[in-house]
C-alpha cells in the first residue's frame, strides 16, 4: 500500500493544487527535455560508434543552432518563472480577513495561540474552508513552519514576524515539520495540523479559552502602564493607537511606514528605531521585559483597536486603497463564497 510508500503528498489546501499543477507541468517539461537529450546521446553513441574506415566528420558548430537552443529554453524558463511567481505571490499574500494564529517557535516545540485565545502546543486546529494567517516568531534560533499537505513553508525568525497563510480544504490530520535545522531535537520538532469541519471546530473552540488574545493584550497594556501615554485622545505623550494598525505612519525622519505587525512589534521592543513624527523619544524599550507571547497579545490588542467599529474618521484621507478597516466589510463579504 501507499501508506508505506507514498509517491505524492496529500493535498489539503487551496495552494496545494496550484503547486501541484506547476510541479506536474515541470515534470512534463523536464521529462521531455531529458527524453530528448537521452535519446540523442544513446542514438548518436550507437549510430556513430567507431568503425574502421569511417572517420568522424568535423563540424565546427552552428550559430543559428546555438541561438535556437539558447532561446527556446529561455522562453520555456520564463514561462516557468512567471507561473512560479504567480503561485508564490498568492501564497505570500494573506487574504485580508483571515483568522489569525500567533506562532511562537522555540527549541524544540511549536506554541500556537489563536486570536480567540485558545492555546496549543505542537498542534493546530483549523476549520475547513477558512483562511488562516500565521504570524510567527521564534524565541531562539531560526525554525521553519512546514505543512507538506498544504505545500506551505515559511522560516520563523527570532526578532521579527514572518507571515504565512493557508486555507485548508480537507478534514484530516497532517504533518507539521520544522524544516530549518535548529539543533539536537530538530527532527523532534514536529506536530499535527488538525483540519476539522466547521461544526467540530466550533465545538473545539468553545472550550479552554482564557478570552480573546486582544483582551489579554489589553490587560498587559494596562499593567505595563502603556495607557498612561498612549491615550485614546490626542493629549497623550505617545501616539494614539486607535485605528493605527494597517495605516501608513509618518516617521520622525520623514519616511513613511505601514503599521504592520512587524512595525508594532519593533515599536515595543526597540521604540527609538522608527519613531512616529511629532513625538519625543521617551518610550523605554520592553526588550526582555515581555515574553514573545505577551508581545503577540499586545500586537493583537493594537490590531483590535483598528477594527471597523473603532476606526476613526481621521485616517480615511491619508491612506492607500489597501486600507484595512475600509475594505474589511467588503472583503469579509467576498471571501465567504469565493
Amino acid at each position: 500500500m501507499f501508506d508505506n510508500f507514498p509517491l505524492w503528498p496529500e493535498r489539503a489546501s487551496t495552494a496545494a493544487a496550484n503547486v501541484d499543477a506547476l510541479f506536474i507541468f515541470l515534470l512534463i517539461v523536464s521529462g521531455m527535455m531529458t527524453a530528448l537529450i537521452f535519446t540523442a546521446v544513446v542514438y548518436f553513441a550507437a549510430r556513430y560508434r567507431r568503425r574502421k574506415g569511417v572517420p568522424a566528420e568535423q563540424i565546427e558548430g552552428s550559430t543559428p543552432l546555438e541561438l535556437t537552443w539558447s532561446f527556446i529554453p529561455f522562453v520555456v524558463f520564463m514561462v516557468i518563472f512567471a507561473w512560479g511567481a504567480v503561485v508564490y505571490f498568492q501564497s505570500r499574500t494573506p487574504p485580508r480577513d483571515s483568522t489569525e494564529v500567533y506562532v511562537v517557535a522555540k527549541q524544540w516545540m511549536w506554541k500556537l495561540e489563536h486570536a480567540e485565545g485558545q492555546r496549543e502546543i505542537n498542534e493546530l486546529h483549523v476549520p475547513v474552508g477558512r483562511d488562516v494567517k500565521l504570524i510567527m516568531t521564534s524565541q531562539d534560533v531560526i525554525h521553519s513552519f512546514f505543512v507538506p499537505a498544504f505545500r506551505m513553508k515559511q522560516d520563523v525568525l527570532p526578532g521579527r514576524y514572518t507571515v504565512a497563510w493557508f486555507r485548508a480544504t480537507k478534514p484530516g490530520t497532517y504533518h507539521l515539520f520544522c524544516t530549518q535545522y535548529c539543533g539536537t531535537q530538530h527532527s523532534g520538532m514536529i506536530g499535527n495540523v488538525i483540519v476539522q469541519e466547521p461544526a467540530q471546530y466550533e465545538a473545539w473552540m468553545s472550550g479552554g479559552s482564557t478570552g480573546p488574545l486582544s483582551a489579554t493584550g489589553e490587560k498587559i497594556f494596562a499593567e505595563l502602564g502603556c495607557v498612561t501615554c498612549h491615550r485614546t485622545d490626542s493629549q497623550g505623550r505617545g501616539p494614539n493607537l486607535q485605528g493605527v494598525f494597517g495605516k501608513p505612519v509618518q516617521l520622525d525622519d520623514g519616511r513613511t511606514v505601514t503599521a504592520d505587525e512587524n512595525y508594532i512589534r519593533e515599536c515595543i521592543l526597540d521604540p527609538g528605531a522608527r519613531r512616529v513624527k511629532g513625538f519625543q523619544p521617551i518610550m523605554p524599550t520592553f526588550q526582555g521585559l515581555v515574553s514573545e507571547e505577551q508581545v503577540n497579545a499586545l500586537v493583537a490588542y493594537v490590531k483590535s483597536l483598528a477594527q471597523p467599529a473603532t476606526a476613526g474618521v481621521k485616517t480615511a484621507a491619508v491612506t492607500a486603497p489597501q486600507n484595512q478597516s475600509q475594505d474589511q466589510n467588503q472583503a469579509a463579504g467576498s471571501q465567504v463564497n469565493p
Binding site: 508505506n4 510508500f5 507514498p6 496550484n18 503547486v19 506547476l22 510541479f23 515541470l26 523536464s30 531529458t34 537529450i37 540523442a40 546521446v41 548518436f44 553513441a45 556513430y48 560508434r49 567507431r50 568503425r51 568522424a56 566528420e57 568535423q58 565546427e60 558548430g61 543552432l65 546555438e66 539558447s70 529554453p73 524558463f77 520564463m78 516557468i80 518563472f81 507561473w83 512560479g84 504567480v86 508564490y88 505570500r92 527549541q107 534560533v141 531560526i142 521553519s144 512546514f146 507538506p148 505545500r151 506551505m152 513553508k153 515559511q154 525568525l157 521579527r160 504533518h175 524544516t179 530549518q180 535545522y181 535548529c182 539543533g183 539536537t184 530538530h186 527532527s187 523532534g188 514536529i190
Partner: protein, 555 residues
C-alpha cells in the same frame, strides 16, 4: 618544433629502462614536501583530498545507516547532527572545491598551455600547506567533539546556541579558503602570461577556459566566506552584535553573505568538471567540440551570472517577495548557459567516431546525471515549487546530482583519462568500465528516491522520521552501499596499476592537446623544448589523418 620525438613503444617482455620523469627524478619525503613542481603538488593534493573523501564518505555511510529505520537508533541525535555537518564541510571544503582544480588543474593547466610550471610555484606549494593546516584543524575539531551547525553555519544557532566546536571549524575553513584563493590566483596569472607561442585564447582547450572561469570565482568569492566566518567567530567569541537579533544583528545578513560565496562555490565544483567533459567527449568522438566559442563563453557567463543568484537559497527565509522575483529570474538566466553546454556536448557526438572507454562512460554518466540535476534546479528556482520543496530531501537529491553526479563523475572521468599521463601506467580497462557502471547505478539508486521523499515532504537533516518514509529511505541506503563500492574500486585499481599496470605510451588515446605531446609521465619541466602551437584545439582530423607525417601547417 611542435612534434614530440616518437617514443619507442615499451617492448613486451622487455623492461624498458625507465626514462627520467617528475616521479623518479628525486626520491624521499623531503623531495615531495619541498617540491615546487606543479605535478608533484597535484599528487600531494590527490592524496590529501582522497583521504578527506573517504572520511566524508564514511560519515555519509553512517548517515544512510541511521536513516535505514524511522527511529533514531544507531547514533545519538547530537552525533547524527555532527555527522551530516561534517560530511558537508569535509566534502565541500576539503574535497569537492579542491578536487579538480587542485589535482587535475594543477597537473594539467601548465602542460595544456605549454608552460614549464605555474606562474608561482612556491605559492602553489604554500596553497597545499594551507590546505593541510586547514585540514588538520578540521580533523582536530572532529576528534575533540566536532561541530553540529550544519555546513551552512546558520546564525543565531551557530553563534549563540550550539555548544560544539564552531570556532574551530570556522577557522579551519577560513584557512583552507586561502589555499583555494591562491590556486585561483596562480591559474589566472598562468593562463594570462605563460601560454606557449601560438596558444591564443581561441586555441585554448576548454578545460583551460573552465579553469579560468573557476579561478575568477575562487578569488572573488572565497574572501567573502572567509570574512563571514570570521564574523561568526567574532560574534560567538566576543558577542559582537552582527547576526544575532538579540544583539541587534540580522540573521538574514548572514545568509546573504554565506550564499554569496556558497552558491558560486557550486560552480567552482562543476565548471572544472564541465571542462573535463569537453576534453573527454572530443577525444572519444574524435571530433572538435561542437560550438567551441559558445562552450567557452558559457563557462564565463556561468561564472558571472553565478554571482547574482545567491538568494534563491532564501525564498522562504523571510526576504521580500520582490527580491525573490529578481533572484528567481536570474537563476533561470544562469540555467541557459548550462543547457547550452549539454546541447553542445550532445551535438559533438553527432557524426563522431565514438569509443566507449572508461573515461567516456563517465562522460555519459555525467551527461545523464547533470541533466537530471540541472532540470531539477528549474523546479527549485520556481518560486511556487520552492516554497514546498525547500529544505526537504528534494534539495538534497538535486545538489547531489550536480555536485556528486556532475562534479565527481567528471573528476573520476578525468582521473581515468589522464591517469596514464600522471602515473605512466595504464589502469585495467575492464574494471574501470565496471566501476563506472556501478557508480552510475548506485548513484541513481541512492539519490533518485530522495526526489520523491522531498516532494512528499521529508525535511532534510532529520535524524528520525515518520514511518511512511521508510521504504524510500531503505532504497536510498541500499544505493549508497553500491555507490560506496563504486568509489572504492578505482582507488584500488589505480593503486594496483602504479605497481602492476602496463607502462603507458605517451598518448594512449591519441588525444589532442599539448599534455599528450610529452612523455608519460612527464619530465619535471614538462617539455623537452619550447612548444609552438600552430593548430586549433581538438585537431582530431589531423591526428586521425591516415599515417601522414605531421607537418606544421603555415596558417
Amino acid at each position: 618544433m611542435a612534434t614530440a620525438t616518437p617514443q619507442p613503444a615499451a617492448q613486451p617482455g622487455v623492461q624498458a629502462i625507465e626514462r627520467e620523469n617528475y616521479l623518479n627524478k628525486h626520491y624521499g619525503v623531503p623531495s615531495w614536501l619541498f617540491t615546487t613542481d606543479h605535478k608533484r603538488i597535484a599528487l600531494l593534493y590527490l592524496m590529501s583530498i582522497t583521504f578527506f573523501f573517504f572520511i566524508g564518505g564514511f560519515f555519509a555511510l553512517l548517515i544512510r545507516l541511521e536513516l535505514l529505520t524511522p527511529a533514531g537508533d544507531l547514533v545519538q541525535a547530537d552525533t547524527y547532527n555532527k555527522l551530516f555537518t561534517q560530511h558537508g564541510q569535509v566534502m565541500v571544503f576539503f574535497f569537492l572545491i579542491p578536487s579538480i582544480p587542485a589535482v587535475l588543474g594543477n597537473f594539467l593547466v601548465p602542460m595544456m598551455i605549454g608552460a614549464k610550471d605555474l606562474a608561482f610555484p612556491r605559492i602553489n606549494l604554500l596553497s597545499w600547506y594551507l590546505y593541510i593546516i586547514g585540514g588538520i584543524m578540521m580533523l582536530h575539531c572532529m576528534l575533540t567533539g566536532g561541530v553540529d551547525t550544519g555546513w551552512t553555519f546558520y546564525v543565531p544557532f551557530s553563534t549563540a546556541f550550539s555548544n560544539t566546536k564552531v570556532i574551530e571549524a570556522g577557522l579551519a575553513i577560513f584557512v583552507a579558503g586561502f589555499s583555494s584563493i591562491l590556486t585561483g590566483l596562480n591559474f589566472i596569472v598562468t593562463i594570462h602570461r605563460m601560454r606557449a607561442p601560438g596558444m591564443t585564447w581561441s586555441r585554448l582547450p576548454l578545460f583551460i577556459w573552465a579553469h579560468y572561469a573557476t579561478s575568477i570565482i575562487q578569488i572573488l568569492g572565497t574572501p567573502v566566506i572567509a570574512i563571514t566566518l570570521v564574523l561568526v567567530v567574532a560574534e560567538r567569541a566576543l558577542h559582537l552584535g552582527i547576526f544575532d537579533p538579540k544583539l541587534g544583528g540580522d540573521p538574514l545578513l548572514f545568509q546573504h553573505l554565506f550564499w554569496f560565496y556558497s552558491h558560486p562555490a557550486v560552480y567552482i565544483m562543476i565548471l572544472p568538471s564541465m571542462g573535463i567533459m569537453s576534453e573527454i567527449i572530443a577525444c572519444f568522438s574524435r571530433k572538435r567540440i561542437f560550438g567551441y566559442t559558445f562552450v567557452a563563453l558559457s563557462s564565463i557567463s556561468i561564472a558571472v551570472f553565478g554571482f547574482v543568484v545567491w538568494a534563491h537559497h532564501m525564498f522562504v527565509a523571510g526576504i521580500s517577495v520582490y527580491a525573490a522575483l529578481v533572484f528567481s529570474i536570474l537563476s533561470y538566466a544562469v540555467a541557459v548557459p548550462s543547457a547550452v553546454k549539454v546541447f553542445n556536448w550532445t551535438a559533438t557526438l553527432y557524426k563522431g567516431s565514438i569509443r566507449y572507454d572508461a573515461p567516456m562512460l563517465y562522460a555519459f554518466g555525467f551527461l545523464g546525471l547533470f541533466t537530471i540535476g540541472g532540470l531539477t534546479g528549474l523546479f527549485l528556482a520556481a518560486l511556487g515549487i520552492d516554497m514546498h520543496v525547500h529544505d526537504t530531501y528534494f534539495v538534497i537529491a538535486h545538489f547531489h546530482y550536480i555536485m556528486v553526479g556532475g562534479a565527481l563523475m567528471g573528476y573520476l572521468g578525468g582521473m581515468h583519462f589522464w591517469w596514464p599521463k600522471i602515473s605512466g601506467k595504464l589502469y585495467p580497462e575492464g574494471w574501470a568500465r565496471l566501476a563506472a557502471l556501478i557508480v552510475f547505478i548506485g548513484f541513481n539508486l541512492t539519490f533518485f528516491p530522495q526526489f520523491i521523499l522531498g516532494y512528499v515532504g521529508m525535511p532534510r537533516r532529520y535524524y528520525q522520521y515518520p514511518p511512511e518514509f521508510q521504504v524510500l529511505n531503505v532504497l536510498s541506503t541500499a544505493g549508497a552501499t553500491v555507490l560506496g563500492i563504486g568509489y572504492l574500486l578505482p582507488m584500488i585499481y589505480f593503486l594496483w596499476s602504479m605497481r602492476y599496470g602496463k607502462p603507458a605510451p605517451d598518448n594512449p588515446w591519441n588525444a589532442a592537446g599539448l599534455e599528450w605531446k610529452t612523455q608519460s609521465p612527464p619530465t619535471t619541466y614538462n617539455f623537452e623544448e619550447e612548444q609552438i602551437v600552430t593548430w586549433e584545439a581538438y585537431n582530431y582530423e589531423e591526428l586521425d589523418a591516415p599515417q601522414k607525417q605531421e607537418v606544421p601547417v603555415a596558417r
